[in-house]
Structures are given as structure tokens and as C-alpha cells.
Amino acid sequence: MRDLGPQLRRGGTPAEPTARLATGIPEIDRLLGGGFPRGRLSEIAGTASSGRTSLALALLARSTGAGEVTAVVDCADAFDPGSAHSAGVLLDRVLWVRTPRTPQALHCAERLLEAHGFALVLLDLAIPDLRCVPATALRLARRAASSGTALVVLTATRALGTAAEVAIELAPARSHFTGTPALLEGLDVQVNLVRHRNAPGPRTATVRLRATQAA
């Protein structure tokens, strides 16, 4: 028995591999083991210019590009249709819910999860003074599990605690202004995987986000 060592594991049915929603950004998909898990609550935390919105739009683009129906619950009223279109998001497959207050946003997200059929619900709570009760986050996580929807929450600082299956923190690393006259070419962001049940490899990565013409 002693020699078996790492080959021993707890009994029971092995968990089925979770379906994942890729972002299309290789560094982040590698970090997350294929993407954000479907049917789970994930958290993307970051300050202004940390790249959280770009990452969220990349997810939307990937999901809508595959013909899936998605929803953005926008508590910050920060969704920019032009920028989303430039990022490759098919806008006709996005339901945009503009809620002025956090409790309403949480209720809307819960209602969308109950409706079943949304592949991705993006809940933008990246607002100052966010108050998210842990019980609410746990309820959202349960709803996401029952609906099979990937619920991704954007926050300014980590707020969902252990309710999130995956949590990443982003921070601005460096901006690139090039040419004469100068133009914003891109932004380097530092991605830090702070919570993941089965982290496949490295826990940090640096990603270059390139400015498009419309952005």
C-alpha cells in the first residue's frame, strides 16, 4: 500500500470533465485548462484598464460566434456595442439588460439562469462599493449549475469568495503608444489565477490586448 502512493485516491464515481467556454485568447485558455467552465460561477476581478472587459467580450465573441445565445446584465451600464462588434461579438445574439442597481442585477441574472438556454450570462458588477451577499452568490452558482450556463461575473475587486469555481485577477502591466503622432497600440495585462479547483499548470500569464480601429 505504501508503494502505491500517489496512485491511491478517494473512492466514488470520478467527476465528469466540465464543459468549457474558451475565450479564444491562448494564454488565458491555457491558464484555465480550456476556458471558463459551463454550469459554474466564475469571477473576473480587476481595476480600470486591467483588461476585464476585453476578456468578457472575447468570451461573448466566442459564444455568439458558435450560434449560442448570451446575455449581459450590465449593472455598470458600461457595455459598448461598437467595441463589442469590433471584438467579434454577434450583437443580435446578445441580450443586454441595463439594470441601475445591484440587487436588480442579481435578480435579473438569476431570472436569466432560470430561463435555461443562455450559454453565457455575463454579470458586470465592476462598480465601486459593491455589496454582494455571499448567500446570493451561492444561489447564483446553484442556478448556473442547474441551467448549464457559464455565469461570469466582472468585479472591481474579488467579491464572490468561494462561490466562484474559477477566479482570476487582472492588473494593467503596460500600455503601448507607438508612432508619430502617437497611437494607442495595445495594453499588456497581467492575469493571475487565484482560484481554480484543478489548476492545470502555471497560475499567471501576461496577455497583449491589441487596440482595434473602432476601439
Partner: protein, 509 residues
């Protein structure tokens, strides 16, 4: 029974004022109730409930007399709004089982209080197994809408109506076999065919009192002496259909209204009244297999003004809770300026969306469930805040528009994310944040704001954007800069040439 013979059903309510009142106030069902022609003790009772009749209250007497007979009598003034809604609901009950139906002409005299609809009952055996099953289904449907009525089926409308009148209690049905009309009508008085007054007088003078007496007269002589009206009566007596075919209604506009007994000046009791209207409206829509679309709420104010509001529903729904919330939201955002003494709700019935899966597309939300969800979210967030984002055809940097969310539209899925993955996105700030900017040689040097602070480290721009110069309200002229401040934030800063101020309208994120 031949299925080829045209058959007409008549759904009849003998006592409409009373039924309309009970439909709006079902809690009065077991009470001695009477409906008066107007306010005041001298008004005449035009309808009396069975319980009131058992207590000795008679129709066509004054309110004062009736109260003297029965002290507990509840008297309501007849409401044209309630009666109109009840007549429309009767038609909805008919349209729930037959595609062709129409309201029967209103009668006068002893039958002035009745309401009736005619509906096509030809070939109903296939759906309801028999005409009896059809009549029972029609009765049950009307009962569900709070309209207990009788149903008779015959080969012509008039005979069906006469047969329905002869039924004693609500919920009774009568089937008159084809060819039996003349025999059925023969012993009845001639007045049941509703002849014109002059013709009725002439027939009485001739000693013709019953339908059989009329049928016994020679046709040619009858035509030459009494004219075509007499021949019309003969055709009716023989059970022939003389009217044009029944129409299929093209519009599905439904109206529910109520005249309030006392003006209401607070929102809570008004919401309670509207909830009752909505529940009746939804029952009618359900009877017609439709869902509720946009609503028009009209409030008749005490000061004489009419307050009409359009309430948009994101998707057709039959969810009462959602619709009540939508109406409450509309009322709370713009409360009525005076007490309300009448309320009406109108809607266009829309088909209930059915679920149809697509072989070539990932399954999205079921249309019916999505409709309910959208309506609920709109009620929660407000009008115009739910939809699919669209890029507006405009040069203003903040311009966008919302379109109805219709994910069912087919499209070709894109197989790969393409070269766009990892593109830098903009995070809009609505409304743009005020910024205090120190300028050096026309370029921002230092920024202070709620989101970006410090010395400007890197900068690109300016880019001038102007537009709508022909409109003083919409005219804009901005100089935009992409700036990175010392705290690491990369923001889009703009100088408004018209208002002479600096704002941050977006952050690169």
C-alpha cells in the same frame, strides 16, 4: 345528422347587467344583488339576482321599494363599460372554439338585457365528437370567463337564439336537428320571430298569433299583401338562414374597462383595480389562445381629463404578475394628476410563441419562457432597458440603440474566433465623468477624476468629432485624447468645445 348542413350555435346570456357586475365583482356572487338603471332611490331595477328574487325583490321596481322589501339588498348602478367588456368577452369565448363568430344584434323590449353571440358550429364533430360536446365546451369556456350562459344549436341564427331563450338555467344546452325548425317553432307565438311593429299589427288583425298560423298562409298571397318582410318571417319560421355568412374577426384588440364607484386617488387601490382588469383580460386572451402584447392604459380622471399611457411589453406574455408590475412601474413613474374614476386597459392579442428546435443551431431559451423572462426583466428594469444592442448610424461617440431581442433569427455560426480574439475593448462611462484637466500647449498634462488621476504619462490625439450642427440641442464638437495617467488607467478624455469642459467618456479595459 348530416355534417354538410350549415349549423349555427347561439351562446346567450339572459341577464347581462347582472352577469357583467358579477364578473367584475365575483365576491358578490352569493349576495342579494340588483342592478339599477341609475343612481338614487327612484332608479329602476333592471336586473335582480336569484337570491334577491327569492327575498321578494322584483325587476322593474324602484330601488326604494326594493330596499323596503329586502334591507340587505346590494344595489349597483348599471355600468356601460362593464357591459361592453362582458359582451366582448362573450365573443372571445365563442372565438375560442370556432373561428367564425359575431355578436348578435341587440334586442329590445323584454329581451333588452340579454347578450348573445352566433358562432359557426358546422363540422364540429371531428373536434368535439358531437354537437353536444361542442355546446358543453362552449358553455364551460364562457363559464370560465365569468359568463354563465345557455347554448343552442340549430340551422339558422334566429332559431338558435329562440331555442337558447327557452332554456331555463345557465349552462343548459339544446340541439335542434336539421329540418326540425318549423316543427319547433310552430306552437310558439309569432312575436318570437321579432316582426316589425306594423307587420305584427297586421298579422294580429288577420288572426295570426302563432308561427304555425303564419306557415299555413299561402305564400303568394302573403307576398302580395304583406310584402317581403312577411316572406322573411316565413323563411325564419322554416329555419332557413337569411343572413350573410358569419365573419372571421381580423383584429384581436381586447378592451377591459370599469367605472369606479368612488374616485381613487392613491396608487395602491388603483393597482388592485387594475389587477382585476388584467386578470379578466388575460382570461379572455387565454380563451382565444393568445398572449398579451403592448398595453394601453387609460385613466378617466375626476377633473374630466383622460390620461392614456402606452405600456410596452418586451414579449407576449400571460403572466399576470409581470403585467401588474409593468403597469405599476408606469403608474409610479408618472402618477395620475387627479383622482381616477374610470380605468380601461386595451391590448392587441398576439400569438403564443411555440417552441421549435433548430437542427443547425445550439438550442437557446424556449420562446415562451424567453417571452416571460423578457417581460419580467423589463418590468424590473424599466422601459427600453432590455433588448439587443445595436450600433447607431450616428457619429456621436456615445450613440447606440436597442432592438427587440429575437435570437430565433437564423444565422451562420462562425467556426473560429478569427484574428479579433484579444482585442482591446472600451468600457463606456454613462454619463461621462467630469474631469479636471491641466493643459499645457493645448494638450492635457494632468488629470483629476473619479476614475483616472495623476500626470499624463502617454497620450495620443486629439481627434476631432463634430456632428448634428443643424440642431442646437444635439450639436456636438469634441476633441478626444487617449491618455494614460500615472495610476495606470488608460482612458478616453474629451474636451467639449460647446460646453467648454473636460469629460472621460470611456476607459480602455
Amino acid at each position: 345528422m348530416s355534417s354538410d348542413a350549415p349549423r349555427t350555435a347561439c351562446l346567450l346570456i339572459p341577464n347581462l347587467p347582472l352577469v357583467a357586475e358579477l364578473r367584475a365583482h365575483p365576491e358578490l356572487g352569493g349576495e342579494p344583488l340588483a342592478v339599477a338603471s341609475g343612481p338614487g332611490p327612484r332608479a329602476e331595477l333592471i336586473a335582480v339576482s336569484a337570491k334577491a328574487a327569492r327575498r321578494g325583490v322584483l325587476g322593474q321596481t324602484s330601488v326604494a321599494h326594493a330596499r323596503a322589501v329586502c334591507a340587505e339588498l346590494i344595489v349597483r348602478v348599471a355600468s356601460p363599460a362593464l357591459e361592453t367588456a362582458a359582451r366582448a368577452a362573450l365573443l372571445d369565448a365563442a372565438l375560442g372554439v370556432s373561428p367564425r363568430a359575431t355578436e348578435a344584434p341587440r334586442s329590445a323590449g323584454a329581451f333588452a338585457a340579454e347578450a348573445a353571440v352566433y358562432l359557426d358550429a358546422s363540422g364540429v364533430d371531428a373536434l368535439f365528437h358531437s354537437e353536444a360536446g361542442f355546446a358543453a365546451a362552449l358553455c364551460a369556456r364562457a363559464q370560465r370567463l365569468g359568463l354563465p350562459g345557455n347554448v343552442a344549436i340549430a340551422s339558422s341564427r334566429q332559431v338558435a337564439r329562440i331555442a337558447a331563450r327557452r332554456l331555463s338555467g345557465p349552462g343548459e344546452t339544446f340541439l335542434l336537428a336539421p329540418g326540425r325548425e318549423a316543427a319547433f317553432l310552430a306552437p310558439l307565438p309569432i312575436d318570437i320571430l321579432d316582426p316589425e311593429d306594423a307587420l305584427a299589427e297586421q298579422l294580429t288583425r288577420f288572426g295570426v298569433y302563432t308561427v304555425s298560423g303564419l306557415l299555413a298562409l299561402p305564400r303568394r298571397a302573403l307576398r302580395s299583401r304583406l310584402g317581403p318582410e312577411a316572406m322573411r318571417l316565413v323563411e325564419l319560421a322554416q329555419g332557413r338562414e337569411t343572413s350573410a355568412p358569419l365573419p372571421a374577426p381580423s383584429s384581436a384588440r381586447l378592451l377591459e374597462a370599469i367605472d369606479l364607484e368612488f374616485p381613487i386617488d392613491r396608487l395602491e387601490p388603483l393597482t388592485f383595480v387594475i389587477q382585476g382588469l388584467l386578470s379578466r383580460l388575460l382570461a379572455r386572451l387565454e380563451a382565444r389562445h393568445l398572449a398579451c402584447g403592448n398595453l394601453t392604459l387609460t385613466l378617466q380622471r375626476k377633473d374630466g381629463a383622460r390620461d392614456a399611457r402606452w405600456i410596452g411589453a418586451a414579449a407576449p406574455t400571460l403572466d399576470l404578475r409581470v403585467l401588474v408590475r409593468l403597469v405599476c412601474h408606469a403608474l409610479e413613474s408618472h402618477p395620475p394628476q387627479a383622482a381616477v374614476e374610470g380605468v380601461s386597459l386595451e391590448t392587441e392579442g398576439r400569438p403564443i410563441q411555440s417552441d421549435q428546435l433548430d437542427l443547425f443551431r445550439p438550442a437557446g431559451p424556449a420562446p415562451a419562457e424567453l417571452g416571460r423572462t423578457l417581460a419580467e426583466l423589463e418590468a424590473l428594469c424599466g422601459d427600453g432597458r432590455i433588448g439587443s444592442p445595436r450600433i447607431a448610424d450616428h457619429h456621436h461617440p456615445d450613440a447606440f440603440r436597442m432592438a427587440p431581442f429575437q435570437p430565433g433569427t437564423p444565422h451562420t455560426p462562425r467556426q473560429s474566433p478569427g484574428p479579433l480574439a484579444g482585442s482591446l475593448a472600451i468600457r463606456a462611462l454613462r454619463p461621462p465623468l467630469d474631469a479636471s484637466v491641466r493643459v499645457c500647449h493645448g494638450l492635457p498634462e494632468h488629470v483629476r477624476s473619479a476614475i483616472a488621476n495623476g500626470r499624463v504619462i502617454q497620450l495620443a490625439g486629439p481627434w476631432r468629432t463634430t456632428g448634428s450642427w443643424w440642431s442646437p440641442e444635439d450639436h456636438f464638437a469634441f476633441d478626444s485624447f487617449d491618455v494614460q495617467t500615472a495610476d495606470g488607467t488608460v482612458a478616453r478624455l474629451r474636451f467639449d468645445h460647446l460646453r467648454k469642459n473636460w469629460k472621460i467618456d470611456a476607459v480602455y479595459d
